[in-house]
């Protein structure tokens, strides 16, 4: 199904759409308040953007530097060219330790690789320990947002889910009670885990260390309790220096949720005594994206999710209307590179209002990339798009002034003479919630020809 079809279904429950819109707009407002407290915010954005530009232009150097330093620190480093390799590596590490229970903190990369289902098929119990992730995992859903995975759910929905799966009181909806239930349930999982997997927010080339940002401390708890810590990262997570964290940590949480900083910024450098630490560095299409000049900047992304929060289309269509793992504007410029046909509709799920680009902490020109992807998608699609034909006709019409004027006149006459039930049929989707303009008797050109002598102006 296209984004439009899914969104049309989602939007039928208008009260829920309004609630979803307001919840995310509230986050955007909190972000505005926080970022405006930092006078040098725009300088930070520019700096962050330049650091990322440098990273991508020297990516090979930084990656090998990172690997060397990580190995010196006693970490085992793995390279995965795609999702399958990534999953195989994880399974091999787990099997090597005879690990059957894995606790996992938030990682969009493992979502992208569909790691959970792969491991479950291979007899591993995977428990997502981020509260939002755990909720969607229990419901057999995917995250609808990259930072707020369960933002599509109300507290009543969570109460119902916990009642079914965790045996909490029926009808419970008090967030504190529900969080308590989750905490108790997860504590037991943490204590019995054989291995912990975390994501990576930043990988620092000069130290070989990684930084993981969470609000729940679940990454730390998992990584410190279990005998094995695996961290999965995309190749673009590299930053050159420890001091660069000073730029990115100031921006990430402010832009994501309007917090000055995440509750936990955990820095992992070397394994604890008796523990193993593995870094899995994943490409999975990123090198290809790096080679696309118009789209390489999409790899600057630090996954703050602000472009989702600000997007008026995302807020009203919900994350699940986008078929890609990463929804919203950033997902819509990443997904065509993964599968142009499958995700073709996502680049069109935007008015090109540009709010995403202005809110982006690393200055990705998101809406310009959407525009550019549209050109490629239309060009390369075998035109199941009847739209392409219509556009050809429009192109012809607008390059032939006489024809344009004739069509305009006929069109205006039709609109003014046809009855409403003909105008507002299923084919005219404009009629969905809106009236057509009332056609004037004369076009401007007609008026001009009749009145130009009165205004005294010359042709």
């Amino acid at each position: 199904m296209t984004h439009s079809e899914k969104a049309t279904r989602y939007i039928k429950d208008e009260a829920r759409v309004d609630w979803h819109d307001k919840a995310l707009w509230f986050v955007r407002q909190k972000r505005d308040i926080q970022t405006k407290k930092v006078p040098e915010w725009e300088t930070l954005r520019e700096l962050a953007s330049q650091i990322k530009a440098n990273v991508l232009s020297e990516l090979d150097t930084y990656l090998t530097q990172f690997e060397e330093n990580a190995i010196k620190n006693g970490v085992t480093v793995h390279w995965a060219k795609d999702a399958q390799e990534h999953n195989d590596i994880i399974l091999r590490i787990l099997n090597g330790k005879n690990a059957k229970k894995l606790v996992k903190s938030k990682s969009m990369l493992t979502e992208e690789c569909h790691l959970n289902s792969f491991l479950e098929k291979n007899g591993i119990e995977v428990v997502d320990t981020d509260l939002g992730e755990r909720i969607v995992q229990l419901r057999h859903e995917t995250p609808s947002h990259i930072v707020l995975p369960a933002i599509h759910l109300k507290k009543e929905d969570v109460g119902e889910t916990f009642h079914t799966h965790l045996g909490s009181e029926k009808g419970a909806k008090d967030p504190q009670y529900l969080t308590g239930v989750a905490r108790e349930h997860l504590r037991e999982k943490f204590l019995s885990a054989d291995a912990a997997l975390t994501g990576v927010n930043f990988a620092i080339a000069e130290t070989g260390g990684i930084t993981v940002c969470t609000n729940e401390g679940n990454a730390d708890l998992g990584a410190h309790l279990a005998p094995v810590h695996i961290a999965s990262m995309g190749i673009e997570k590299i930053i050159p220096r420890q001091s660069d964290l000073g730029v990115f940590l100031r921006m990430l949480a402010r832009n994501a949720t309007g917090q000055a900083i995440t509750t936990y910024s955990s820095h992992f450098l070397k394994p604890n005594n008796g523990q193993e630490m593995h870094f899995v560095i994943v490409d999975n299409g990123r090198t290809e994206q790096l080679g696309r000049v118009d789209f390489r900047k999409s790899l600057y992304c630090i996954r703050c999710g602000a472009c989702l929060n600000t997007c008026p289309v995302y807020r009203r269509s919900g994350g699940h209307s986008y078929s890609f793992t990463i929804p919203g504007p950033i997902g819509s410029i990443l997904s065509p590179g993964v599968d142009l046909k499958k995700y073709a509709s996502m680049a069109f799920a935007s008015t090109l209002c540009g709010s995403c680009s202005d809110v982006c902490p690393v200055k990705i020109d998101i809406h310009h990339q959407l525009y550019k992807w549209r050109q490629i998608i239309v060009n390369e699609s075998n035109s199941s798009f009847s739209k392409k034909q219509i556009m050809k006709a429009m192109g012809f019409l607008f390059s032939h002034p006489g024809l344009y004027r004739f069509a305009g006149k006929t069109g205006r006459k039709l609109v003014s003479s046809l009855p409403g039930f003909v105008l507002y049929n299923g084919l005219n989707t404009w009629g969905n919630g809106r009236e057509l303009p009332q056609p004037p008797a004369q076009s401007f050109r007609e008026w001009y020809l009749e009145n130009k002598h009165k205004t005294g102006n010359k042709l």
């Binding site: 969104a7 707009w25 725009e42 709010s355 202005d358 002034p401 344009y404 989707t429 809106r434």
Partner: protein, 248 residues
């Protein structure tokens, strides 16, 4: 100073009063205005839909129509912005670059070229200003709410010169109306909801009139208002600057 009046296709066909107001305003301010009779469309609708190739012929025709004017002025930041930003689809020559550098939205033209400081118009209404995205983040005619910097708005600055006009405050100062070119029909459900939410914001905050700089947004908002039978009028800002009156 010879000014070429650019009238976007949908303004020509559906909102001629906006073009009339633009013409009259420019003439009042002493410009010699010409209207090339063979103009059609800037080409944006096709390009935004992913069919840049199909807009080339329209773009060529546009340059042909306007290459001999000192300035090209239209009351449509969206279309003007398209000419400036996207006419790189044409082979660049002196005519193309002349058109791209000398095209102005009416607001920019009045403030930056004619440098007007007062307007002889009265509009005694509570006005909700709808910020078009292309004026905001394309043409940078105002500070967007995402950016940390001093707030300004060229269009509101102009409207502030009008006697009696009172701006209402909106809950969301620069959220998109949902028009978005072909988006309004390909994503009709989301588009209509966005339009409806925008109108609700203006209504909630007491707007008697909604104005703005891009007719496309206003067409969307007016479409919602008429469908929902709201008592809010919609006029383009040039109509206000030109002294539009609702009195019979």
């Amino acid at each position: 100073m010879k000014v070429g009046l650019f009238v976007p296709c949908y303004v020509d066909q559906f909102y001629p009063q906006v073009a009339v107001a633009t013409l009259q305003l420019l003439e009042k301010l002493g410009c010699e205005v010409g209207f090339p009779l063979n103009q059609t469309c800037c080409g944006q609708p096709m390009a935004n839909a992913g069919c840049e190739k199909e807009s080339k012929a329209a773009a060529k025709l546009f340059v042909e129509n306007f290459k001999d004017f000192d300035y090209i002025v239209g009351a449509a930041p969206s279309c003007v912005g398209f000419v400036k930003e996207h006419y790189d689809i044409l082979e660049q020559n002196p005519d193309v670059s002349h058109v791209r550098t000398k095209i102005y939205d009416i607001t920019e033209f009045l403030l930056d070229i004619l440098k007007i400081t007062k307007i002889d118009a009265r509009f005694p209404y509570k006005v909700g200003f709808h910020q078009s995205c292309h004026a905001l983040r394309g043409m940078r005619m105002a500070q967007s709410s995402e950016i940390n910097g001093a707030s300004f708005s060229m269009q509101k600055q102009l409207l502030s010169m009008v006697d009696g006009l009172e701006f209402i405050e909106l809950d969301r100062t620069d959220e998109c109306c949902g028009f978005g070119g072909t988006f309004c029909v390909t994503e009709a459900a989301v588009s209509a909801k966005m339009g409806s939410d925008r109108v609700a914001d203006h209504e909630r905050n007491g707007a008697q009139v909604i104005t703005g700089g891009d007719v496309s947004c206003l067409m969307q908002l007016e479409g919602v208002i008429r469908r929902q039978n709201k008592n809010i009028k919609v006029v383009h800002l040039v109509e206000i600057l030109n002294g539009v009156s609702f009195e019979k």
